[in-house]
């Protein structure tokens, strides 16, 4: 039990996907202007990351390994993720139209979010089993959402601050991300590796 908890906490905070592994930076900079869209993006990413971790694990375990096709890993994973995102989009559209409305354009964008492919590849590298992969994916999604929400709240306040003109937008966002990342470094001591 404790082992599983450690996987989630480690993926979400200690090795936060955005702030210490640098995965999913494009949406992190692009969608962190407003809090409500950050929340929508975060939810969509948690959803897709968990599903993608499970499915890529199964493909690797039951399709690629038995037939010695590991070299097809990258190709098959990216295609599966792209298909999965389309599929999730259709399912949400049918079953929960209000959620679909609020997620809007963020769903298709997730395909190119490197956090999804990154999590899938990390699961394979770490030799996680099915449950561990799912939890790692979920934790990674939670970590992404936490970072995105923190950033969006700061940037909403930043609108009122006097930032040098050349540093407006992306530059100041990166410097703030650096300070956030410094704070997240403190989580490193929680679990002895």
């Amino acid at each position: 039990m404790e082992h599983y908890l450690i996987i989630i906490v480690s993926a979400a905070f200690i090795n936060n996907f955005v702030l210490s592994r640098f995965l999913g930076l494009c949406p992190f900079i692009g969608v962190s202007k407003r809090l409500d869209s950050a929340l929508g993006m975060g939810m969509a990413v948690i959803f897709v990351l968990t599903f993608a971790s499970v499915i890529t694990y199964m493909i690797h375990r039951f399709l690629l390994l038995p037939y010695h096709l590991e070299f097809l890993k990258t190709i098959s994973f990216i295609l599966v993720i792209a298909t999965l995102v389309q599929f999730v989009e259709m399912v949400i559209h049918k079953t929960a139209p209000t959620l679909y409305e609020s997620l809007g354009i963020y769903l298709p964008l997730i395909t190119t979010n490197c956090a999804v492919l990154g999590a899938a590849l990390l699961n394979i590298n770490e030799n996680y089993n099915l449950l561990e992969s799912a939890l790692n994916g979920f934790g990674a999604g939670v970590g992404f959402t936490v970072a995105l929400i923190l950033m969006a709240s700061i940037r909403e306040k930043l609108e009122l601050a006097r930032v040098p003109r050349s540093f407006k937008g992306a530059p100041i966002t990166f410097i703030i991300a650096g300070i956030l990342s410094l704070i997240f470094l403190c989580f490193k001591g929680i679990i002895a590796e």
Partner: protein, 200 residues
């Protein structure tokens, strides 16, 4: 004409400093100068090959499935790079880790395929790929050198036992520059200062 396709990627449309594409690998692998060069070389290869292939086959691909087809082409070259690096430079492959397979989702490559190679002829696409790849390598190595000098007090240009490790004397390294926060702060400052230069 050709020179223009080659040189625009270096400064005017530099993928990292101006277009801000491909930031994830930039920040993640820029802890040593040699990692920047290695990652850059991998990206140059993938970008040039996929640009050439896509501009060759662009007339045969139906418009609706062009993005998945581009991704398959790109993923093929990424797999080649992945395995070649694993065989010949295992150390480098290990330190770059998952960021080699993650070149697939690097926005630079798909971006150039969609915006350039799908419209222009083979030769232009070839030079565009090399130019953009060199621009990426240049910016990435610049960030890596800054971080390594400030964070470790060295410049590592050593691969497979060849090359040198330059040590900068009388420098108190700040470990934080090698750690993730240093990456964010370095790129933030570089982008800010390049904005100042652009305004001039």
């Amino acid at each position: 004409m050709k020179i223009q396709e080659l040189s625009k990627g270096l400064f005017k449309e530099n993928p990292i400093l101006v277009l801000m594409l491909g930031l994830c690998p930039t920040l993640a692998v820029s802890t040593k100068a040699i990692y920047g060069i290695g990652m850059g070389a991998a990206v140059i290869f993938v970008l040039t090959c996929s640009n050439v292939i896509i501009s060759l086959i662009k007339d045969f691909i139906p418009d609706k499935i062009r993005i998945p087809s581009y991704i398959v082409v790109i993923a093929t070259f990424v797999t080649i790079v992945d395995y070649v690096m694993k065989a010949y430079t295992p150390e480098l492959h290990k330190s770059l880790g998952i960021f080699i397979p993650l070149i697939v989702v690097n926005c630079i490559i798909l971006g150039r395929a969609e915006a350039f190679a799908a419209k222009k002829n083979v030769l232009d696409s070839f030079f565009d790929g090399i130019g953009m790849g060199l621009g990426f390598t240049l910016a990435l190595t610049l960030i890596a050198v800054i971080r390594e000098i400030l964070g470790a007090g060295t410049i590592t240009l050593k691969l497979l036992g060849y090359g040198w490790i330059v040590e900068i004397p009388h420098l108190n390294p700040m470990i934080v520059m090698i750690l993730p926060p240093g990456a964010f702060i370095t790129i933030g400052l570089i982008l800010g200062f390049s904005n100042i230069l652009k305004k001039r």
